[in-house]
């Protein structure tokens, strides 16, 4: 069940350092939203506040609200672990668990979250997740082999399979293709287009063609100077952002990056 996301007045800190200030946006269910912007402007930071991965870092804090279908995930009584079960994440570098087989990597979330380990159920979830990640055909004969033995692109799809195996509502992806070759990148992009029907997807990307290819809406983050907090400059329909952005800074960035 894909859900909507709404961020309200987000200020994100690393210790005393204000990394991102006053971010507001909404993301519709079953959509793909791209975060673009120069390095260090806080795209990853904002993304990680959406599933409370931010607070895993020592000293990191968040002010403001993130509403998931209207419910604030930063409310007092809410367990960050439960939030992360609902909002999955895929990282820049593929990071399959090195001690686990392909099968166990996909099953890891379910196995470790709770006692729900009936073998027959697991088999079904593993197959379904690998199929959704377009990896099943490539690995079905070697499920017991180590996940680390796959190619980079396959590893990243394995990580996506692992993330969707726990049936989240939202999938966050932080530059999932930046460590991959163009063919693997295309495979992941195809996958994202398919996953959209089941999940709400937010993706950080450095590649603006990629943002243009896969996303419905694009958010442009910027940084006025180093040491200053990053900010969300504007957010809109992707085609409009890439042709007629309202903000001068967006236009400069997009034309500079394309030219």
């Amino acid at each position: 069940m894909a859900k909507s996301i709404e961020a309200k007045n987000l200020n994100v800190y690393y210790g005393k350092f204000l990394a991102v200030s006053n971010v507001n946006f909404t993301v519709a269910p079953n959509s793909v939203t791209a975060f673009i912007g120069p390095s260090g402007c806080g795209k990853s930071t904002v993304l990680r506040t959406i599933n409370r991965m931010h607070e895993v870092i020592a000293g990191a804090t968040v002010q403001g609200k993130v509403l998931l279908d209207g419910e604030d995930i930063y409310d007092d009584g809410i367990d960050p672990v439960a939030v992360r079960r609902t909002i999955g994440m895929v990282f820049q570098r593929p990071n399959p668990f090195p001690t686990m087989s392909i099968y166990d990597n996909v099953a890891a979330g379910l196995k470790l979250q709770s006692g729900r380990t009936r073998k027959a159920d697991l088999d079904g979830v593993v197959e379904k997740s690998l199929r959704s990640a377009n990896l099943w055909a490539e690995v079905k004969d070697r499920l017991s082999k180590p996940g680390a033995g796959l190619s980079g692109g396959q590893q990243q799809r394995l990580c996506i399979a692992r993330a969707i195996a726990v049936q989240p509502d939202v999938l966050l992806m932080d530059e999932p293709c930046s460590a991959l070759d163009p063919i693997s990148t295309m495979a992941i992009e195809d996958l994202i287009r398919q996953l959209k029907k089941d999940y709400t997807i937010v993706i950080v990307t450095h590649n603006m063609q990629q943002a243009a290819r896969i996303s419905e809406r694009t958010a442009f983050f910027n940084l006025s100077a180093t040491g200053q907090p990053g900010e969300l400059v504007e957010m809109g329909e992707t085609p409009k952002m890439f042709t007629t952005p309202t903000d001068k800074r967006t236009e400069d960035y997009i034309s500079g990056a394309f030219g």
Partner: protein
């Protein structure tokens, strides 16, 4: 179009070859590194060769592994190291049972949870423990259990003294190994909605498992040859005593020490011993102490080596199981 080394560079190439001085430096560095390696290797091989060549024929006799030194003097043949093996294995085993869980938990605490003052104090304490000489650890246990509580000397007190020496070794290696586990794996696990403790138990520890096992073996190797705690806390007995909690107990280091004391007795005089029929017969004096000493040294090394192989086996098995 064959080029020789002395020919001028072919004009077609845009690149000059490596300059003479760079080649020289490269060559020099290679020689130095190789030399350093050999220098480091020589004492190791030499030591092993000495111990093996002098101890080999001793440890290959069956009685070495089954008999004690009960009633043996340096002149009487036979007997074995069983009493010492029992003592060393028991003492080190008890020490490990206490140390390994504590040390691994401390290592986990320091890497995964430790923040703030308490962690700093713990790290500092472990640093200090690392530098404690074994005899000081022995005296501490002596002061506590024998002077204060009037306990009697026994093997388990040795184990306690060894705990003080073993814990910092295992804490340090556990810390190093846990730090080697990439943070990305912890994050991947958190992002699946796995709680922190489960991430540590199911993701971090298995990834670091091989290294931690190596650390445990290092810790055991570190304490198995310690002699000071033995001399102070349990003494030496040439009889087999399997009771860790009372009386003197033999051990490999004290067996070595005991034989060492007899090393320089003259040989070649006349000695009498009883033959199989109980008749007193004369023979030349043979000093068996050197043989036994090297035999015990080889046994100690062999036990540690065996442990190493065992650790590797566990590590391999662990990999295959996954």
């Amino acid at each position: 179009m064959t080029a020789t080394l002395t020919a001028k560079p072919a004009p077609a190439s845009h690149f000059a070859g490596p300059s003479g001085s760079r080649r020289f430096k490269n060559g020099l560095a290679t020689v130095l590194v190789t030399a350093a390696f050999l220098v480091a290797l020589i004492p190791l091989v030499w030591l092993l060769w000495t111990v093996i060549s002098k101890g080999y024929h001793v440890v290959t006799s069956a009685s070495w592994w089954t008999e004690s030194q009960r009633g043996k003097t340096f002149e009487s043949a036979g007997g074995g190291a069983w009493h010492a093996i029992v003592g060393t294995v028991e003492q080190v085993a008890l020490c490990s049972i206490i140390s390994v869980p504590i040390a691994i938990l401390v290592g986990i605490y320091l890497v995964e949870y430790g923040r703030g003052a308490f962690a700093k104090v713990t790290t500092f304490t472990v640093d200090i423990l690392t530098g404690i000489p074994s005899i000081v650890a022995a005296l501490f246990i002596y002061a506590l259990f024998i002077s204060t509580f009037h306990g009697a000397r026994a093997g388990w007190l040795v184990s306690l003294a060894l705990v003080i020496l073993m814990i910092p070794v295992i804490v340090r290696t556990t810390e190093e190994m846990l730090k080697l586990v990439p943070n990305e794996l912890r994050e991947a696990s958190y992002a699946l909605g796995v709680p922190k403790w489960k991430t540590i138990v199911k993701i971090v520890l298995p990834t670091a498992f091989t290294g931690i096992v190596t650390g445990v073996v290092l810790g055991i190797a570190r304490v198995a040859g310690e002699t000071a705690p033995l001399l102070i806390l349990v003494g030496y007995s040439s009889n087999t005593n399997t009771d860790l909690f009372s009386n003197f107990q033999g051990s490999l280091p004290t067996l070595i020490n005991d034989q060492f004391a007899n090393l320089n007795h003259a040989t070649g005089g006349t000695a009498y011993h009883l033959d199989a029929n109980g008749n007193r017969v004369a023979g030349a004096v043979v000093n068996y102490a050197p043989d036994r000493m090297w035999g015990a040294a080889l046994t100690l090394i062999a036990i540690i080596l065996l442990l190493n192989v065992f650790a590797r086996f566990i590590a391999r098995f662990n990999k295959i199981a996954q």
